[in-house]
């Protein structure tokens, strides 16, 4: 029993799209692709090129003549399509789909996601065999979405819902931490004393505001210790008399 959802392409008509679907699936950890009556070669050069090293999925793809056969061992099946006009069926978005699917999988159920052909989408007869419809919310004025693009959006949501948020990127991406404040204050003192020497504070009564503005700007950047040292090096360099200056 698979613990991952199966992606089922119904009558795909372009090798490139089948390859791109395989890559999209593998990007999000899925591995089983099923093909219903494929209209294109899923193992040719185009398919392999677009799969970009996901050709293991192409080689393992299971091929069926009919929708019924492809669905035979599955327990929950979702049809990815625009909301159909005249069929009464629950509709979920990919975001809503994901926790449902994960719940099914957690209970050991076999889940399939059906994707329609590039040319004709899904037929009502196929949709009727599915439990629910997955509809991607799209720009209503331009809702023609590529097969592999629709596939990756569904795979993406399934993966996001599986992954522990704790494993995701941290907001602060570094082994390094913001410098202890005293280092930042040391930089402020350094900068301000150099500015004082240069007569930057022409109006003494404005100095507190000027200092506050500068400190606020630099505090916001959350510099690391190394960065504070770099900044102090910059100040030292700018104020050194190492080389003659040519000013206008």
């Amino acid at each position: 029993m698979s613990l991952k959802p199966v992606v089922i392409l119904s009558r795909p008509s372009l090798s490139q799209n089948i390859g791109a679907c395989a890559r999209a699936m593998k990007n999000f950890g899925l591995s089983e692709m099923r093909l219903i009556a494929p209209q294109a070669d899923w193992l040719n050069r185009d398919a392999r090129a677009l799969s970009a090293d996901a050709d293991d999925l192409l080689e393992a793809a299971k091929v069926f003549k009919t929708t019924e056969e492809a669905f035979a061992d599955l327990q929950h099946i979702y049809a990815t399509t625009a909301r159909p006009r005249d069929m009464i069926k629950d509709v979920v978005t990919p975001k809503e789909l994901a926790p449902e699917v994960n719940s099914h999988l957690a209970h050991g159920k076999a889940v399939g996601i059906l994707m329609g052909s590039e040319k004709a989408g899904l037929e009502n007869e196929e949709i009727a065999l599915c439990d629910k419809i997955v509809t991607i919310p799209l720009n209503p004025e331009f809702s023609s979405i590529n097969l592999a693009q629709a596939t990756i959006l569904v795979c993406y949501e399934l993966y996001q819902a599986q992954t522990n948020i704790k494993d995701m990127p941290e907001a602060w991406n570094s082994d390094e931490e913001p410098a202890p404040r005293e280092e930042l204050f040391g930089f402020f003192s350094h900068l301000e004393s150099e500015l004082e020497k240069q007569n930057y504070y022409r109006c003494p009564e404005k100095r507190p505001t000027m200092d506050r503005n500068l400190r606020n700007m630099f505090a916001r950047a959350k510099f690391t210790s190394q960065e504070v040292r770099t900044l102090r090096g910059v100040i030292s360099s700018l104020t050194s008399s190492f080389t003659p200056k040519n000013k206008n």
Copy 2:
């Protein structure tokens, strides 16, 4: 001022991908594409075929020679890339990105999303000019994602989060806006030219890294236009010969 984020492709190398990106953008209501030094024709037959009637975006694409030019009028810029090894920068997922971007847009700010080239991704020099990094959580064993696929995932999340934006608090807590990038770049040039005069770059081969580190530090702080002017005043003051200096 754009009320939608701009998608910026850096050195895209395949016409098909540029076309597929245009389609992905239009699927989720985005319209402005920028190209930095494109390595492929974005108006040829392949590009148009993959855009699937989103060729209006291709025709309207703005082309720039440098990253700096492409960023000039933008205020918040996100670099879409895997977590970089040695750069200190906030990292968000596409899901976390979306409410942030929508909040910026709701407050009239100009937002850009930078996407790397198919071959080489983004260079550290480009990432350093951005505010934050967007990292798509991917299968760690197969994390090579197609450019158009990465683009659609980001566009998708931005679109999904567009509801309720009016209620979002502004992440950027100020009446003032971050300076347009060109002002920050003007500051970089000013600072770097002064440092050069002072022989700060003792080893020429290290200069690119030194500049990148400085730019990264300052880009992170999101200075306002007034703050950039203040910083330039600080540099001018520190490098002036207004008063004699007493050095140890």
